[in-house]
Amino acid sequence: MAVALKRSLAVLVKSLGGPKWWQQASRSVSISASLSRVESPPARADATFKVTMLPGDGVGPELMTAVKDVFKAGDVPVEFDEFHLSEVQNMASEDKLEELLSSMKNNKVAIKGKIHTPMEFKGELASYEMRLRRKLDLFANVVHVNSLPGYSTRHNNLDLVIIREQTEGEYSSLEHESVPGVIECLKIITRAKSRRIAKFAFDYATKKGRNKVTAVHKANIMKLGDGLFLQCCAEVAQLYPKIKYENIIIDNCCMQLVQNPYQFDVLVMPNLYGNIIDNLAAGLVGGAGVVPGESYSAEYAVFETGARHPFAQAVGRNIANPTAMLLSAANMLRHLNLEYHSHMVSDAVKRVIKQGKVRTGDLGGYATSDEFTQAVIANLAV
């Protein structure tokens, strides 16, 4: 009797469409209602979340379609705000960037593809992707490299986290030609940003229960620059006595990754080395199509693939692998606290790959992207 009263109260509040905290209240009431009655389905969110979507170039739009299809089939309460910003297709301008930034400020969460940077530059040396990162201050890029169950590569059961500083380092876009034929490119390392990324890495390791953080550098050659980075990592490491701290030179690290990748746990590094190691590690578990990645700033979170390539050769041919984008979307759902939906999507993807019947070309199969997406949707309900 009391239970029925509680339920009707919840329905009443919902129908009134009251302010947010009422909705919160109604949500908690319906949860307790469901707890007392085991047979009712678990609580679902009542509000839809708005997420900025940036399809990008190359196969980005196709992958985004896959994400949208899967979300629709799974009844996921997420609404996308789409923006088309592209340097290659001449759809980029300052106003578009501003629109995108204001949407991000509202939504705080985004999912995006890769905005390709053409090699010829007209005026500005910094690409749109770099500018976006700097304006939103997305300083940390986290790529969690996990071997997929059911798909074996030369190294199985890999579980690495690669944390890369994304706003300075070699990607400062500060180049000039001092004398005709002599070009200087500046690599900037600052103490503040190095400390920030080191702290992020150790916090991440603590939160996820990781044991070791390894800093990757080339301080034997770039004594001042990478030396400063290394010093900051060492200073921050002292604040976390429970986590083991090591450091390794980048060329040795690459060699060890192909010979014995199991010795690493969490890796933290400046910009360029991060680019190299992200791609190397993605190749170890199956390529750019299977590894999700995310970028964090103090206020925003952007979800994308781990190894960022526009993959222009596959546009229109329906062969791109949506796994990475779908897993990244699942991570986004977890970030939004939609645990149930997040598990639903990631379990479906992992089940399809484990069964091995429907696989795209990069994993050795013959299915198209659409077939793979359909298979994931079919596995959602189970």
Partner: protein, 388 residues
């Protein structure tokens, strides 16, 4: 008689094309390419057809350096290679004017012989002088570092069928050593790319590909991010590709190369790149075939100087105990023989070395066996003698 003149004319043409009648007049493929090369350029290359002893400067190095140099000398003796060794020591000394330099007798020996073989050199920390490798590089202007990576049968790694060469620009790029502390907490490192150095390395890469029957050259860069600097490097590679139309030229981003390298290394042939990417990629490729203990390496300099070296460390913990593995220095020495044109000796020694590793009876500790360095060396010498 007209018949014999006609026959000898045909035989000459066939010899130029590398074919034979009844197996006579057989010339090795590499020599043919050098002949064809000179044919195109119009200036004949000086060829030493008389077998005379060529002198090579040997720098044993520190740590395990002396043991492995001895091993190499023994094997060369067993193979009857026409090489005379001149041993020299390089320790940094302060020359007139306060600049650090290598001992003058070592410099004079290298300049005379032009070819050198070097063991691992120790870089003491806080010794006040720059690393020995850096000094050698600056003294002889060693602008290209060549590392051929070929999978060794018998030493199993998860990557089989690796057969690629990394050519790395060795003088500038990110390793120019120009760094400044702008304000407290902000450091700036300068990456320098010059037209002259990029042109030189691109030309060398294509020449190497041509002389060693390599089908394609891939330029590795990051010109989408470092648009001006890597853009210049790429432009020079493209210009060199225009001049060498017989070698296929492709360009690939560094991250794409890393991604594909660990999935399928067979798709790469010759890779040319600036300093930092070269350092990382060449070590990555060394890891694919089994590590620095089995990887050869050569440094090519201006004025025809070439120094071949083993890239591993001095391993002070096993120095003097006869545990060292001479494979890296031996394969570098084979690379040196090929560079000098002594292909038959190079092939003989290389085959002996690979056969010994494949047999797995006598292997040093790092290759998975239990034998000593001297036993391993003796096994190779035996195989070499058996081949004659």
């Amino acid at each position: 008689m007209a018949g014999t003149a006609w026959r000898s004319a045909i035989r000459n043409v066939l010899r130029m094309l590398g074919l034979t009648i009844n197996g006579q007049d057989k010339t090795k493929p590499q020599e043919v390419s050098r002949v064809l090369g000179s044919f195109k350029n119009g200036s004949p290359q000086p060829r030493n057809f008389i077998r005379e002893m060529q002198t090579v400067t040997l720098i044993p190095g520190d740590g395990i350096g002396p043991e492995i140099s001895n091993a190499v000398m023994k094997i060369f003796e067993a193979a009857n290679a026409p090489i005379e060794w001149e041993e020299r020591n390089v320790t940094a000394i302060k020359g007139p004017g306060g600049k650090w330099m290598i001992p003058p007798d070592a410099k004079e020996s290298m300049d005379r012989n032009k070819i050198g073989l070097k063991g691992p050199l120790k870089t003491p920390i806080a010794a006040g002088h720059p690393s020995m490798n850096l000094l050698l590089r600056k003294t002889f202007d060693l602008y290209a570092n060549v590392r051929p990576c070929v999978s060794i049968e018998g030493y199993k790694t998860p990557y089989t069928d690796v057969n690629l060469v990394t050519i790395r620009e060795n003088t500038e790029g990110e390793y120019s050593g120009i760094e400044h502390l702008i304000v407290d907490g902000v450091v700036q490192s300068i990456k320098l790319i010059t037209e002259q150095a990029s042109e030189r390395i691109a030309e060398y890469a294509f020449e190497y590909a041509r002389n060693n029957q390599r089908a394609s050259v891939t330029a590795v860069h990051k010109a989408n991010i470092m648009r001006m600097s890597d853009g210049l490097f790429l432009r020079k590679c493209r210009e060199a590709a225009e001049k060498h139309k017989d070698v296929k030229f492709t360009e690939m981003y560094l991250d794409t190369v890393c991604l594909n390298m660990v999935q399928d290394p067979t798709q790469f042939d010759v890779l040319v790149m600036p300093n930092l990417y070269g350092d990382i990629l060449s070590d990555l490729c060394a890891g694919l075939i089994g590590g620095l203990g089995v990887t050869p390496s050569g440094n090519i300099g201006a004025n025809g100087v070439a120094i071949f070296e083993s890239v591993h460390g001095t391993a002070p913990d096993i120095a003097g105990k006869d545990f060292a593995n001479p494979t890296a220095l031996l394969l570098s020495a084979v690379m040196m023989l090929r560079h000098m044109g002594l292909h038959s000796h190079g092939k003989k020694i290389e085959t002996a070395c690979f056969d010994t590793i494949r047999d797995k009876k006598v292997l040093t500790k790092d290759l998975g066996g239990n034998s000593k360095c001297s036993e391993f060396t003796e096994a190779i010498c035996q195989k070499v003698r058996d081949m004659d």
